[in-house]
Each structure stands twice: as structure tokens, then as C-alpha cells.
């Protein structure tokens, strides 16, 4: 984990801090291009940054 504030991350992604907050707290699903930008920024595969909703629901069963 990098020691970035929401503002730092928002500036690196060129989005509002509100966007970062909404994505982090699960209130908003980013578009595919933004999700890829986030994954690339953390240098991680996209599935390590975001959890698949279908896998999440199958875990719950």
C-alpha cells in the first residue's frame, strides 16, 4: 500500500477526490477505462484491485 491520500490519488488519476472516495467506499463502480488506469497506477492486475461482484456473491452462498 502506498501512503497516498485521496487527494494524491485523485490528482494522479485526474479525477475529483469525491470520485476516489465513492469508488473506495463502494458507492460507485468506475468505468472500465478508469478501472484500468487505477490498476496501472498501482502496478497491479485489475482483478487484484477490484473484486468481481459475481465471485463476491458466490462466496456469500
Amino acid at each position: 500500500m502506498r501512503d497516498w491520500s485521496q487527494q494524491d490519488l485523485a490528482e494522479k488519476l485526474e479525477v475529483s477526490r469525491q470520485s476516489v472516495n465513492a469508488i473506495e467506499t463502494g458507492r460507485y463502480d468506475p468505468s472500465l477505462p478508469l478501472a484500468f488506469r487505477i490498476a496501472e497506477l498501482f502496478d497491479l492486475p485489475i482483478e487484484e484491485v477490484f473484486e468481481s461482484p459475481t465471485r463476491r456473491s458466490s462466496k456469500a452462498i
Binding site: M1, R2, D3, W4, S5, Q6, Q7, D8, L9, A10, V15, S16, R17, Q18, S19, V20, N21, A22, I23, E24, T25, G26, R27, Y28, D29, P30, S31, L34, I38, F42, V49, F50
Partner: protein, 198 residues
């Protein structure tokens, strides 16, 4: 995804306090104008106050958005357009009322004069449309679309219910220009809805 170190700050309290203080001041000024029977001077004074308060609210909102990292170029443009449209609306309304009360207008001129206040409001509607088209931040755009749909739902619901109440002589008539203020109230109410997780 949880990668950062801070949570959402609540920096909007000051903005609400300014809005409340200005609403109280405006109500007091309106009451004074009516009580002292200031006529046209009172109307001009109130118009200037509305423009001034509108301007300070927009500036305060902009400062708060910048401080909390939620400002965008599109929002800045929208604020400026709304300020200009709002000022034009107040002046247009004032001019239209004055012309209607003091001049003998032909039918075409009467239509032109009556259309004058609409220009400011249509300018605002255009500014809202431009905000939607120009906002580059997808989450802010998503919120704007959601709020707009909520505002539209509010307007359709109230117009339908009120229309039938009015039809059966239960409530007084409301002019149709109230559509935009009702829509704006719906836009504002959308921010109070606990949308929760998706």
C-alpha cells in the same frame, strides 16, 4: 478497493450556514420592503440583494469545492453561467414588471416583454445541459444525471398530484413557470437521499 489514508471531510457546514444566514436576511429585507411600502425602490433593493447573495453563495460554494478537492473546470464554468443567468433573470423580471405596469404595449410587444424573464431561466437550463456535456469527471457526471432524474421525478410527481387537486378545486392555481424552481428543489433534495452502496 481501499488504498488511501483519509476519509471524506465534512466541509459543507459553513456553506449551509451562509445559505441560512442569507435566506434569513433576504426574508427580513422582503418583510421590511413590504412593511415600509418602499415600492419600486424596495423592488430594486431586493433585486440587488438577491444578485449579491446569489453571487456570494456561488463564490462560497466554489471555495468549498476547491478546498475539498471537488472542483472541476466544468463546475467553474457552470457557476459563472448561472451567476450571469441569475442576474439577467432578476433584471429581466424587474424590467418586464415595470414595462407591463407602466407602458401601453401592443400584443407583440406584450409577448416580448412577458418572454423577458424566461430568457434568464432558459439560460440556466442551457447551463445545466452544458455542465452535463462538459463535465469530464465520470463520478460527478453520474451524480449530476442521478440528481437530474430525481429532480425530474419530483417535478412530474408534484405537477401530476397538484394538477388533479387543482382540477377538483382543492388547491389554488400554481403558474407553470414554477416547473424550474420545483425541478431545482428536486435537484437539491437528491443530495439528501441516502443512496447507499450500489
Amino acid at each position: 478497493m481501499s488504498a488511501t489514508t483519509d476519509a471524506e471531510p465534512s466541509g459543507s457546514r459553513k456553506l449551509y450556514l451562509i445559505a441560512l444566514a442569507e435566506a434569513i436576511a433576504l426574508a427580513a429585507a422582503a418583510a421590511a420592503v413590504i412593511r415600509l411600502d418602499l415600492g419600486w425602490i424596495g423592488t430594486v433593493l431586493l433585486s440587488v440583494l438577491v444578485i449579491l447573495f446569489g453571487y456570494t453563495m456561488f463564490r462560497a460554494g466554489e471555495r468549498q469545492a476547491k478546498a475539498s478537492g471537488n472542483f472541476s473546470i466544468a463546475i467553474g464554468r457552470y457557476n459563472r453561467r448561472m451567476m450571469a443567468a441569475g442576474a439577467f433573470y432578476v433584471v429581466g423580471l424587474f424590467a418586464a414588471v415595470w414595462a407591463h405596469d407602466t407602458l401601453k404595449l401592443s400584443s407583440a410587444a406584450a409577448f416580448a416583454v412577458a418572454f423577458l424573464p424566461s430568457i434568464g431561466v432558459l439560460w440556466m437550463v442551457w447551463a445545466m445541459g452544458r455542465l452535463l456535456a462538459e463535465e469530464q469527471d465520470e463520478y460527478l457526471r453520474h451524480r449530476l444525471v442521478r440528481s437530474s432524474l430525481f429532480g425530474l421525478g419530483t417535478l412530474l410527481t408534484l405537477a401530476t398530484v397538484w394538477g388533479f387537486f387543482e382540477q377538483f378545486d382543492l388547491v389554488p392555481h400554481v403558474p407553470t413557470w414554477a416547473a424550474v424552481p420545483v425541478f431545482a428543489v428536486g435537484l437539491g433534495l437528491a443530495n439528501c437521499v441516502p443512496w447507499g452502496r450500489k
